[in-house]
């Protein structure tokens, strides 16, 4: 994967020396030192999604503050940060899952291939077919494995025949690395699989509608290490064909699977950079404090 971005410099903000000192002193004040603009490489060429000045409110409460970010085509971007910092909220704005929360209000613009996804004319159904989502807790439908994977293709009318549908189910399950494990029991309930298998089933279900972007919200947080490793492997494979945004609470995971990493803090996007940079040479004191485990 291409780690070198064309705009190598990005739009990095000068970090005042005061913030560095307070970070180094050990005691970290969560509230202090939030930069007025995101540091690191925020913008890229060939952006698949372009997020500009996004604020998200839950009623009165603002959960996301003025976030701008580009997501590159076919990259894996990881979002990390302390819990409650708004990672999930941000991720859910990308396919408008926040629409389901009545109190939630999104300001700013989010573009997918140059089209505003919050445009009134754009249908959220087709958006979600293009930007799929995998959730924190595996949530297969209480239906058979086959029906789980076939569901999206069915409702979008992607297949005209049963044979075609069978094919979609098979390729999706293969891409999700689940085919060999379930090919003999496609008619058995999806909920009867192990946690890791269920999550891969959910990934298969998401890729069955051929999305362009896959959003994953802590997809491994409910899984054991072996299942986690499998999913991580899968993410690496999928990134060849899909753009992936993954929220994770595990910095190791972010380091292993992503090309770029975004660090969120109290609703602010503090720093975005190549993953290696973020973990070896963070620009901002808050990022450094987080990755060195001083809060989280």
């Amino acid at each position: 994967m291409n780690q070198v971005f064309d705009k190598a410099e990005g739009i990095s903000m000068a970090v005042d020396s005061g913030s560095r000192r307070s970070a180094e002193s050990g005691e970290v004040d969560m509230q202090a030192n939030i930069p007025s603009a995101t540091v690191g490489k925020v913008f890229v060429d060939h952006a698949k999604m372009a997020i500009r000045n996004v604020d998200v409110f839950y009623g009165e409460k603002q959960a996301i503050h003025n976030v701008s970010l580009d997501i590159r085509k076919n990259e894996v971007i990881a979002m990390i940060g302390p819990s409650g910092c708004g990672k999930s909220t941000f991720l859910r704005t990308l396919n408008r899952m926040n629409d389901t929360i009545p109190t939630c209000l999104v300001k700013g613009t989010i573009e997918l291939d140059g089209n505003d996804i919050y445009d009134k004319k754009l249908d959220v159904v087709s958006l979600r077919a293009r930007v799929g989502m995998v959730f924190q807790k595996p949530n297969p439908f209480p239906k058979s494995i086959y029906d789980n994977v076939a569901y999206g293709a069915k409702i979008h009318g992607l297949c005209s025949s049963r044979i075609e549908l069978d094919e979609v189910v098979e390729t999706s399950l293969k891409k999700a690395g689940l085919w060999s494990e379930v090919k003999d029991r496609l008619n058995q309930p999806g909920t009867g699989l192990s946690g890791g298998q269920q999550q891969r089933l959910c990934i298969a279900r998401a890729i069955a509608v051929s999305p362009e972007v896959i959003l994953m919200d802590e997809p491994c947080s409910a899984l054991d290490p072996i299942a986690t490793a499998k999913i991580e492997e899968l993410i690496a494979e999928l990134s060849e064909n899909y753009t992936i945004a993954i929220v994770t609470h595990s910095m190791q995971q972010a380091a292993r699977v992503s090309n770029r990493t975004a660090y969120f803090h109290l609703g602010y996007l503090v720093e975005v950079n190549d993953t290696e940079m973020v973990f070896t040479n963070p620009e901002h004191s808050l990022t450094e404090a987080y990755i060195t485990g001083r809060f989280g």
């Binding site: 799929g132 959730f135 807790k137 439908f141 569901y151």
Partner: protein, 425 residues
Amino acid sequence: MNKMSTIEKIEKGLKRRYFSERLFQIFGISSIVFGLLCLVVLLTDIVGKGHGAFFQHYIRLTVVLDAEKLGIDDRATSEQIAMADYDSVIRESLLELFPDVSGRKQKKQLYRLVSDGATYRLQGMLAEDRRLLGQRVDVWVSADDDVDVYLKHVDAEKEASSRIDEQQALWLAALQAQGRIEKRFNSEFFMTGDSRNPEKAGIKGALMGSFYTLMVTLLLSFPIGVAAAVYLEEFAPKNRWTDLIEVNINNLAAVPSIIFGLLGLAVFINFFGVPRSVPLVGGMVLTLMTLPTIIISSRAAIKSVPPSIREAALGIGASKMQTVTHHVLPLSLPGMLTGTIIGMAQALGETAPLLMIGMIAFIVDVPQGITDPSTVLPVQIFLWADSPERAFTEKTSGAIIVLLGFLIFMNAVAVFLRKRLEKKW
């Protein structure tokens, strides 16, 4: 030292905990035992009193279907058969059995042994097969209700309370000795409508009335209730108006049912002109009554569908409607059914609102549809309980058994459906 005392404290507390746990268990078990005991007492009482209603004494008469006496000539038209004087041939056959009966009064007492229904029996026989005309045939006709009561209780009964006099008792003893009296399953009880004569009164009218009324109730209240619940739960914005609606629905569930009867009378009958006393209007009134129950339980069922399922569906681009129909409804249907069956059971036992819309009328004909005047089981029970004839006591308990049977059947169907739908994955 400090640690020891903690453990000691815990152990001291442990005894108390176990004690209160045991106390609670004893309390729980005794509540259940008490409940079961009440149920057993109730059921044995009802079954003890009511099983008699399912049996009836019949008397075998040997009648001569004499054309002349019946007033039927050679043509033997249907009309003639319908109008024929069967009473006289029945009397004849009774006198033949007891030739030494004389005097108007005694004869009258003798004739009273068999039910008026006997004439219909003969009429039916002739209508079916005209070749019987002029023949001598044996027929079983039902005994009069007083005779039936007397025969059922003849061993335990004190003479004084019986409506059978000594002479009649002797006749009956003679008939019994000749093997002309038999206790049989009273299939007529399930085949006929109400009657002023207890031995002819059947439950079918009320049973069908209840059936049609409940059908109307179910067909109206289930779709309306589920639609309302789905809309309120899944689509309606959460604001003051929906809060107000929610409070009102909850309040409706607590409104005394007779109020719904008054409403039905004022709106359905007086304003919209729906005929009174029919299952259609009864079902509409009971729909008003059961709707809150169904809506509340359906909403609870919808709420219990995990949000993750909705997210999963929405996340791959299902529309709101698809999410509801493909996932939420199938998963909440068992819960909705439970609520519906509770509502239906309530509706089945409801009397008060139906009195207001005229379903208390005395109706002999078995209703053939939702627009035929009819009554329902609980009202029938009330009517029979209110009748002076002794034989109706038994019928009342019999009708209660039928009502309970209907209820159990309904519940069984619901449980079966729920089990089918609940195919938990």
